[in-house]
């Protein structure tokens, strides 16, 4: 087959992704670039985005990896429902996620009302930001890790069990290392989804600089004030994302 069959369609996609990003960088260059980059709003939003997204990824890892293990290896009634449930946030619009979180954990929400009674409110806090991000992003980790676990040769697990390893040891010393690549891919997807989360965040956590105004929110608000601020903030996020992605890929390559 001639190479053009591969190149031409690829070119379309590369152009679709590459041109807007190049245009973004091109348009961001102005005399105010550094004023906006180092403004309190930008730095607050960047710091908040990084801190919350990293926490969300951590939470997804700690809770999602065991869940992936269960979904791959255990059999129990209702397992398919659990599978569907964990996949739902991926297809739900983020605003639906936000509304659902409010209905459950809002001040007059089903569980939120109990929490409110003991003095705990979640909306409008940074915790709410982490919850919103984890809700929409953790399923990516579970999916990825599931694929990784499912790909492990069962004979290796069998061999380990024959040697006397218990379930936890099989998980810790066989499954996780062998699924390493899938876990890493899961981390990348989860982190990028958490970093870009907007709809659920603005509905559930609100928008307050320093507390709940993550980069995507700052960019949206900035866009309504002055396009140039939004462009500069977007380029900042782009730069940080590229650095993190490059680091993760390097880590993956070394392993």
């Amino acid at each position: 087959m001639p190479g053009w069959v591969f190149v031409l369609p690829s070119l379309v996609l590369v152009a679709l992704i590459g041109l807007p990003l190049l245009a973004l960088i091109w348009r961001s260059v102005s005399k105010d670039f550094f004023t906006f980059t180092f403004s309190a709003m930008a730095l607050d939003a960047l710091k908040l985005s990084l801190v919350t997204s990293v926490i969300s990824v951590g939470l997804a890892l700690v809770t999602g990896t065991p869940l992936a293990y269960i979904l791959v290896h255990w059999k129990f009634p209702g397992k398919m429902l659990l599978d569907v449930l964990i996949d739902l946030p991926v297809v739900l619009p983020p605003s639906v996620a936000g509304i659902a979180l409010l209905m459950a954990f809002g001040r007059v929400g089903i569980f939120g009302a109990w929490l409110n009674a003991i003095g705990v409110t979640i909306p409008f806090t940074t915790v709410a930001v982490v919850m919103a991000q984890t809700f929409v992003a953790a399923p990516f980790l579970v999916r990825s890790v599931k694929i990784g676990f499912a790909a492990i040769d069962p004979q290796q697990q069998e061999a380990a069990r024959l040697e006397g390893a218990n379930e936890w040891q099989v998980f810790r010393y066989i499954m996780v290392p062998l699924a390493g690549r899938a876990v890493l891919t899961g981390i990348i997807m989860t982190w990028t989804r958490a970093l870009g989360e907007f709809g659920a965040t603005i509905l559930f956590a609100g928008n307050l600089e320093g507390k709940t105004q993550t980069m995507p929110l700052a960019i949206y608000i900035g866009f309504e004030t002055s396009t140039q601020i939004a462009v500069v903030l977007s380029v900042m996020l782009l730069a940080v994302s590229m650095v993190f992605l490059a680091l993760l890929r390097k880590f993956e390559a070394e392993n």
């Binding site: 070119l11 041109l19 245009a23 809002g106 001040r107 409110t121 609100g206 928008n207 307050l208 309504e224």
Partner: protein
């Protein structure tokens, strides 16, 4: 060799298209020449074979109820015309228009988001006309759980207040009201600071503030009296005229409107007795108060 050539070509093509000299506008788009008005006037005569015409109206979120009714009335008076609305914070709509959106009509909740469009020649010849005014009010969640009774209560430590962002007209107006109140010794010079310290979120339009208060997430919110009227289940605390801000709403047809005659007809309808009656029903006051 062939593969490398193909990849190199891809990169070169990408670089060339990206670096090609653009008609680079600055933050403000270039002037759009005003469209000429076609010879036919105002209302479209109903004909069995007329294709349905769509009128696109960008309107401030606070106009959702009133303009919904006005749209239906306009459609009834002009068979064959469909009115579609884009309701959002006026600042978001202004940005969309500046970035190339071509609605027929724009109705803003303040001049701050209309005047730049006039200066940038995005508004049709004839400019913007004020068509209504609005006032601000404090709304309270169902049941008023935090027992907010007076405007002074808003400074109470730990209270959760929801406002619109300062870039949103109502958010800007609200902060003006707080500043006005700080000038009065009854409330004290630190009134505004104390109230702003209680703000837990800055929403992107006024209806989001209403929703958050309605859901009980916030203990109080500052919105328009028309929003309070549209949500009769929520109690409100009026803001005395001495401190209140009169929000002037301008409306204009856009220079790049695809239907200039229809757009003018819509603006005329809003300014007419019928249109004003609908606005009045929703709690708006006439312009020029």
């Amino acid at each position: 060799m062939k593969k490398r050539l193909a990849i190199a070509l891809m990169i070169v093509l990408l670089a060339v298209t990206a670096c090609a000299p653009q008609a680079a506008p600055t933050a403000a788009p270039t002037a759009v020449p005003p469209t000429t008005v076609p010879p036919t006037e105002t209302a479209v005569p109903p004909t069995a074979t007329a294709a349905p015409r769509t009128l696109t109206v960008f309107a401030a979120a606070s106009l959702t109820g009133a303009f919904g009714d006005i749209g239906k009335a306009f459609e009834a008076a002009n068979p064959g015309v469909a009115v579609t609305f884009n309701f959002a914070g006026s600042q978001a709509l202004r940005t969309q228009i500046e970035q190339g959106a071509t609605p027929d009509v724009f109705a803003s909740a303040d001049h701050k988001n209309m005047d730049p469009l006039v200066q940038e020649n995005l508004v049709a010849a004839g400019g913007a006309k004020d068509f209504a005014t609005n006032l601000l009010v404090v709304i309270l969640p169902p049941g008023n759980p935090a027992n907010v009774q007076t405007l002074s209560d808003l400074t109470r430590a730990g209270l959760k207040i929801d406002l619109a962002d300062s870039s949103v007209p109502v958010g800007n107006y609200a902060r003006q009201v707080l500043t006005n109140m700080s000038k009065d010794p009854t409330y004290g010079a630190d009134y505004s600071d104390k109230v702003l310290a209680n703000v837990v979120s800055n929403e992107t339009d006024v209806k989001a503030v209403v929703s958050k208060v309605d859901l009980g997430e916030a203990d109080a919110g500052i919105v328009y009296v028309t929003d309070a009227a549209a949500a009769p289940g929520l109690k409100s605390i009026p803001i005395p005229a001495d401190y209140n801000v009169i929000a002037q709403y301008p409306i204009a047809t856009l220079a790049a409107s695809p239907n200039p005659d229809l757009a003018s007809a819509f603006v005329d309808y809003v300014l007419s007795a019928d249109g004003q009656a609908i606005l009045n029903k929703w709690g708006f006051a006439p312009a020029g108060q």
